[in-house]
Symmetry: C2
Subunit: 225 residues, 2 copies
DNA sequence: ATTAAAATATGATATTTATCATGCTTTTAT
DNA sequence: ATAAAAGCATGATAAATATCATATTTTAAT
């Protein structure tokens, strides 16, 4: 198994603030795991007892609503950490993580991360910074959900995925989601998403090829009401 | 002016993890301020360059939506800190703070808090814990906003204010909000809030006396659909 | 390759919520 | 004390969205 010291991915998360010795310790106790597309990495309420570092693949973090629908709260890509929030609060996780394509993740046990949080202030501060960013994005999401129409929210979801995760060589969004996933991001019925996407396509705002979506008119998408 | 070392309110926030010397330093550079009901403590986009400690009163944290409506993201009461998120991210604030009744706040300049964040790991860890809790609540709010009806959201807002901030001797919610404020929590039109509250009253779920509200049937409020 | 299952698509209709209008009540300012 | 403003209340109507039904297309399993 490869070592954390040499892993380039840590540049994309707080682990870059660990010392060589701390990284060696983590390397020695970490485990590695493959999660296939559609499979759960963990479920809401699980005590995960550690954090995951995403080596490859993409997953969605969801929360089950009382009405039985999943709400997608965040998309996580290669390089990011998952589980810091629950770890810091020392409680079981409030979200489920499901692979959107085949994933490879490393698991670092709680005691090791907690030790670093207590001993390495640079690391703690960076975890704090990441969480502050997450909180800001969550605040924005609350406002969007509360104040904007389904149409606007869907347009913004497309723009967000475009801006945050980019496109492939054909200009297609790299993150490929089902209509149901989009409904679970926007908080609406799957049929509504299908209808609105059809409309966007008819109006030339997007192009689709199966599940793949390409943004054709970003300016117009930003103006959607 | 009273000193931070003796201030009982710090027991309710992360400042309790500061050492005596750190508290003395903060006492020496802090300033104090009165903010009248309805007045702004700071506005979205302001560079506040420090954090506030609420000594007395209650305020709402809001974010202006593109459609011109305010969204209430959080209510802050005596004892809590405001502004940690922006401070940690080293950016101007993403929220506005408005006093819901007369407030007294202490202001601690950024350089002093940053120094403590860098030097006192216990303090940093507690700030991290508080932010983790805020993030969890924000995630819950996202799900509620996205998946629940206006009726449900309003019922939950009442239950939340009841549980988090309590009641006076008559059983009235201690936090008194206008119908418009409720609309800005729930993300709906003020008329809709008025209508639904009238219905709740007619159905015996709540009682009202002017702007004051008493929850009469918590079980039924939890069952609202 | 074929069948079953899942995802997408679209229409018809019901429900929820917003908007506009108007009147009443309470609070605030002078 | 009184006027003006702000907040509350309710009806009528419009707009947005959900739900149910059904058909088609795509994907997965054998």
């Amino acid at each position: 198994m490869s070592t954390c010291e040499q892993c380039i991915l840590k540049q994309f998360n707080s682990l870059k603030y660990l010392t060589k010795e701390e990284l060696v310790r983590i390397s020695d106790c970490k485990t590695s795991k493959i999660v296939r597309k559609g499979q759960l990495l963990f479920n809401e309420g699980d005590l995960i007892n550690g954090i995951f570092c995403v080596r490859d693949g993409i997953c969605k973090l969801t929360k089950l609503s009382a009405n039985g629908k999943d709400q997608i709260v965040k998309l996580v890509v290669k390089g990011e950490l998952i589980g810091q929030r629950s770890l810091v609060s020392e409680e079981s996780t409030n979200l489920s993580a499901t692979a959107l394509n085949d994933m490879q993740v490393c698991f670092i046990p709680k005691y090791e991360v907690m030790r670093d949080l207590h001993e390495n202030n640079d690391f703690t501060l960076d975890v704090l910074k990441v969480m502050a960013k997450d909180l800001k994005e969550a605040d924005n999401l609350i406002v969007n959900m509360a104040q904007k129409s389904v149409r606007q929210r869907l347009a913004e979801a497309l723009l967000y995925i475009h801006a945050a995760f980019g496109t492939d060589e054909d200009g297609m969004l790299t993150i490929v989601l089902s209509r149901e996933d989009y409904a679970n991001i926007v908080g609406t019925a799957t049929e509504s998403v299908i209808r609105i996407l059809s409309q966007f396509k008819k109006d030339g705002l997007i192009a689709t090829k199966g599940k793949q979506i390409r943004l054709e008119d970003i300016t117009a998408l930003k103006r959607v009401e």
